[in-house]
């Protein structure tokens, strides 16, 4: 399978959007394009599984390598393993849903969809890159669309949030840049991940480069205390923007933390694992407690994202195969869940014109579909079995517990404590919005979800359920890849 399709298709769609003449065309082209991406992602998934089933155990499949800046040894090197495939699937789900929920964007429709598709393309490119330079290129490519999406179509303190987001992400990129340059020179002028994974980088170098890379990518994935762009950015963004931000963009960081920082610099990872664990445990609990005090639905989800993403980082910091698998599951799960959450919040906001929990109530009566989805996503967030969040969190806990010393155990227990706090804030949110008496008479005339919203929600719910009910396929996808990473860490 030609992986370039994954970049080409969104790019083509984006260009087609630019060339289209009216809003209807824009919307339908985007929808068709994103559906095609979804189909492509599924195709990739099945072909990948098939390859693996037929005994192809090469670490990366469908590798392609074209020289780009040959004098600097930069190559268009692509390839996927299970992690990438999972992330690509996630991306395609969120892209379709994002396109669908933005159906009623009136302002600058063409530009909006163009940027959305560009963002998606950046993510695909990022996940298939095996060359750090190209990876960085795709990582950076997504910063400006995010900025514009928030700044132009956002709400609230949008300029401030957009600025903060762009600058903090830029700060992260700056660190990453230094980190990958360090790797480049340390390993004899190569950006190639596969080559770097075989190179030996001296200990002292690893100890410098690892924090740079990890913190750099950490900014993207809301590593405590560099998470402050998350609440503001997410809450100010338009619905699809928040979905992309939390659903895809934050995963870029997590993926980078694992694939680049941890995988390529295992000794550094070991050295700093405890700090990662402490920070992520703090993020988990602190994010959860901070969420508890929020009154705006978007802030609730944004802070809870900090908490949930903390789990992925915790999993990475635990450095066991199961925990890493769990961390990856959490990324996928959180991506779907949070995208859905934002979609639902957007739907509610479109109708009630408020996001304040205190001003709603009894939405179940008039908006049964939306409310039910809200319910499902809330339950997923608090880790209910049968939904994806549970699977991921439990895998992380199981993996974390494999470390037998008191430090890791206490961190695990602390992280596990968040499930109670999560229950508190999710139920508060649910209880005050969809349940309870109707506080505002005007809500009695609200209309339930339209077809596009239903479709978007259903796509994401299906994703959540597919992981929650039968996690085996995802596990099979991620575990061997995590094993490769663990092998490198363990030094075999």
């Amino acid at each position: 399978m030609n992986l370039l399709l994954l970049i080409g298709l969104p790019l083509l769609t984006a260009v087609a959007v630019l060339l289209s003449r009216n809003k209807e065309q824009v919307k339908w082209i985007s929808l068709l394009g994103s559906m095609a991406q979804l189909a492509l992602a599924f195709m990739l998934f099945f072909i990948f599984r098939n390859e693996r089933a037929t005994g192809n155990v090469t670490q990366m499949l469908f590798e392609q390598n074209y020289p780009l800046f040959s004098s600097l040894n930069i190559n268009f090197h692509f390839g996927v393993d299970g992690i990438s495939v999972a992330m690509i699937l996630l991306t395609s789900f969120v892209v379709v849903a994002g396109v669908l929920v933005s159906w009623n964007i009136e302002k600058m429709t063409k530009e909006f969809y163009f940027l959305l598709l560009l963002l998606g393309m950046g993510a695909y490119g990022f996940f298939i890159s095996l060359d750090l330079f190209i990876l960085f290129f795709f990582l950076e490519i997504s910063v400006i669309p995010k900025y514009l999406l928030i700044g132009i179509w956002g709400s609230g303190r949008k300029e401030y949030s957009a600025n903060k987001l762009a600058l903090m992400l830029m700060g992260g990129s700056a660190l990453i840049l230094v980190g990958i340059l360090g790797l480049y020179f340390a390993a004899g002028r190569s950006f190639d991940i596969m080559e770097l994974s075989k190179a030996t980088v001296s200990l002292s170098y690893q100890h410098i480069l690892f924090p740079l890379l990890f913190v750099g990518f950490g900014v993207f994935t809301a590593l405590f205390p560099l998470h402050t762009w998350v609440p503001d950015g997410h809450s100010s963004a338009p619905t699809a923007g928040s979905m992309f931000l939390a659903g895809i963009s934050m995963k870029l960081g997590g993926y980078g933390c694992l694939r680049v920082a941890t995988y390529l610099l295992p000794e550094g990872a070991k050295e700093f694992a405890n700090i990662i664990i402490i920070l992520s445990a703090i993020a988990i609990l602190y994010g959860a407690f901070a969420t508890m005090m929020q009154k705006d639905l978007k802030y609730i989800n944004a802070y809870s994202s900090v908490s949930h993403v903390g789990f992925s980082l915790l999993g990475i910091g635990m450095l066991t195969q199961t925990a890493i698998t769990g961390a990856l599951m959490q990324m996928v799960s959180h991506g779907l869940m949070t995208a859905l959450f934002f979609a639902v919040i957007g739907m509610i906001y479109d109708r009630t014109h408020t996001r304040m929990v205190g001003e709603m109530g009894g939405l179940m009566k008039k908006l049964p579909f939306i409310s039910s989805v809200f319910f499902i996503v809330g339950l997923c967030s608090l880790g209910l079995p049968g939904l994806s969040g549970f699977v991921a969190e439990m895998t992380i806990f199981m993996g974390s517990w494999e470390n037998t010393d008191a430090f890791h155990r206490i961190a695990t227990i602390a992280a596990a404590m968040s499930i109670v706090v999560t229950a508190v804030y999710i139920l508060r949110a649910i209880g005050n919005t969809v349940m309870g008496p109707i506080r505002n008479e005007s809500y009695l005339s609200l209309k339930d979800a339209a077809w596009n919203e239903r479709l978007a929600a259903i796509i994401l719910v299906v994703g959540i359920l597919a992981i929650g009910i039968a996690p085996g396929w995802l596990n099979d996808l991620l575990r061997p890849a995590a094993e490769e990473i663990m092998n490198r860490i363990a030094g075999n």
């Binding site: 800046f69 040959s70 132009i152 600025n163 340059l181 480049y184 020179f185």
Partner: protein, 466 residues
């Protein structure tokens, strides 16, 4: 003699155009607008001519040297001049001294050509003056504007002062080595303190022309005061040429003192980036804003130069090419708006997207490229500069450089924000773009998008710089 024509081709073409313009001026036969078109065609010819007969070699006892890389550098400058002639059509049409303006500009260009090709301190000094005195006159071309003359005055005085110091340095070098030839000087350099002193005098002149902090203070004032055509010439062509020469000077002439100048460049690069960025944050006038942003960009160029290897040369040449497109696009937009509405403040750009989406996208592309955001070429340019800077292994330096990109992003976003996001009841009305302006903007836009992604450009430069 045949060799003379092929090797000095670039200079000869420019000289020919200067004299052609002189005759036209004297005969006074041609109308203003057709004259402009003629000039634009001539400049295009000049640019295209640059691609033929590229050979290495020296003339006049190696006072003049050339090589494919040097010709390529000259071509970048020619291209920039051509683009300026297109972008500033509006202003150029209005000015009464059109042929004179171009004569001056081309003289300056000629000076830069000689400067890039120079193999001798004398010719270097002369061409440096040739490249700056006419520009000072050009700065005063908004004859009736107070600010224009003020800017010109600041420029000519500062530049005279700096060349005084430069000359003092050259005289010391001459005293120490007894030669002015680039090839002979390094043989007698051993890094004694007087040599360092002389080198610093010399470097300060480079720093002055390149606007390296703390020798940069004239920059913003002159940029703001001058007509935009002059400003863009100053900020792109002049900067580019000096950057090229600085590399020759450092890598060839002062090669024995590499330890000294490396550290010096690191210090200068850091303060240049930081100060340039800090000043740019606060600017309201778009020209002044771009002035400080270009100072910060120069800091990045220094990062590349500090590498002292062919990676550095490649990165700098590549960056200057990209910078040409990006900065000219930004200046082009500013020029069109300033010329048609008289508005030069960033706040005036609020709500621009509603009325002028094309201009906004070009502006956005340009600024993103300057900020180093993919997929624009600026990303690659900056990245390669930093990569070049990292060859020496000083990661603190690289980290500071990389972190500076945050501040720079901040102020570029300010403009973007004004144009795209801020609401304005009275935005600048829709501007009708001249065909040549549009053409130039499209060229710039295409350059910004393609130079980075088409990697052979970089590889080609690399093959030249080996």
């Amino acid at each position: 003699m045949n060799e003379f024509f092929t090797l000095m081709k670039s200079e000869l073409v420019v000289t020919a155009i200067i004299f052609l313009l002189l005759f036209i001026k004297i005969s006074k036969g041609i109308q203003h607008s057709s004259l402009l078109s003629l000039i634009q065609v001539l400049l295009l010819i000049n640019f295209i001519a640059g691609f033929f007969f590229n050979k290495s070699g020296g003339l006049f006892g190696d006072m003049y040297q050339t090589s494919p890389l040097i010709v390529f550098q000259k071509n970048i400058l020619s291209l920039a001049v051509y683009l300026i002639s297109l972008l500033c059509t509006d202003w150029l049409k209005k000015t009464e001294h059109l042929p004179e303006f171009f004569m001056l500009m081309l003289s300056a260009l000629l000076g830069m050509f000689f400067m890039i090709s120079s193999g001798n301190l004398l010719i270097f000094y002369l061409s440096l003056e040739l490249a700056s005195i006419p520009v000072a006159a050009m700065a005063n071309f908004d004859l009736s504007k107070k600010r224009s003359s003020e800017g010109a005055m600041k420029m000519i005085l500062s530049s005279a002062f700096s060349s005084g110091i430069l000359l003092f340095g050259i005289s010391l070098i001459y005293g120490i080595t007894g030669t002015l030839s680039f090839a002979a000087i390094p043989q007698l350099l051993d890094g004694s303190t007087l040599q360092i002193m002389a080198f610093i005098f010399l470097l300060s002149a480079f720093a002055f022309k390149l606007s390296i902090v703390p020798f940069h203070l004239w920059t913003a004032d002159v940029y703001e005061g001058s007509p935009i055509a002059t400003t863009s010439f100053l900020s792109v062509v002049s900067k580019g040429a000096i950057a090229f020469v600085l590399m020759t000077a450092l890598y060839k002439v002062f090669a024995p003192m590499q330890d000294v100048w490396y550290t010096m460049l690191v210090i200068l690069a850091i303060i240049t980036m930081v100060i340039g960025n800090l000043f740019a944050i606060r600017q309201q006038n778009i020209k002044r804003f771009l002035a400080f942003s270009s100072i910060a960009q120069v800091g990045f160029i220094l990062v590349g130069i500090s590498s002292g290897s062919e990676i550095g040369i490649t990165a700098v040449v590549y960056f200057v090419l990209i910078y040409t497109f990006s900065n000219l696009a930004a200046f082009g937009v500013a020029a069109v708006i300033a010329e048609q509405t008289g508005k030069e403040n960033i706040d005036d750009y609020k709500g621009l997207y509603k009325t002028n989406p094309f201009l906004c996208w070009i502006l956005a592309l340009a600024l993103f490229s300057l900020a180093g955001i993919p997929p624009t070429a600026g990303f690659f340019g900056k990245l390669f500069l930093i990569t070049a800077g990292a060859t020496k292994g000083s990661y603190t330096f690289i980290t500071i450089a990389a972190l500076n990109m945050i501040i720079s992003l901040y102020y570029y976003l300010r403009v973007i924000r004004a144009a795209f996001m801020d609401k304005n009841d009275n935005p600048i009305s829709t501007i009708k773009l001249n065909a040549s302006v549009k053409l130039a903007m499209i060229i710039c836009g295409a350059g910004i998008l393609l130079v980075g992604l088409l990697s052979w450009v970089y590889d080609y430069i690399h093959s030249l710089s080996l």
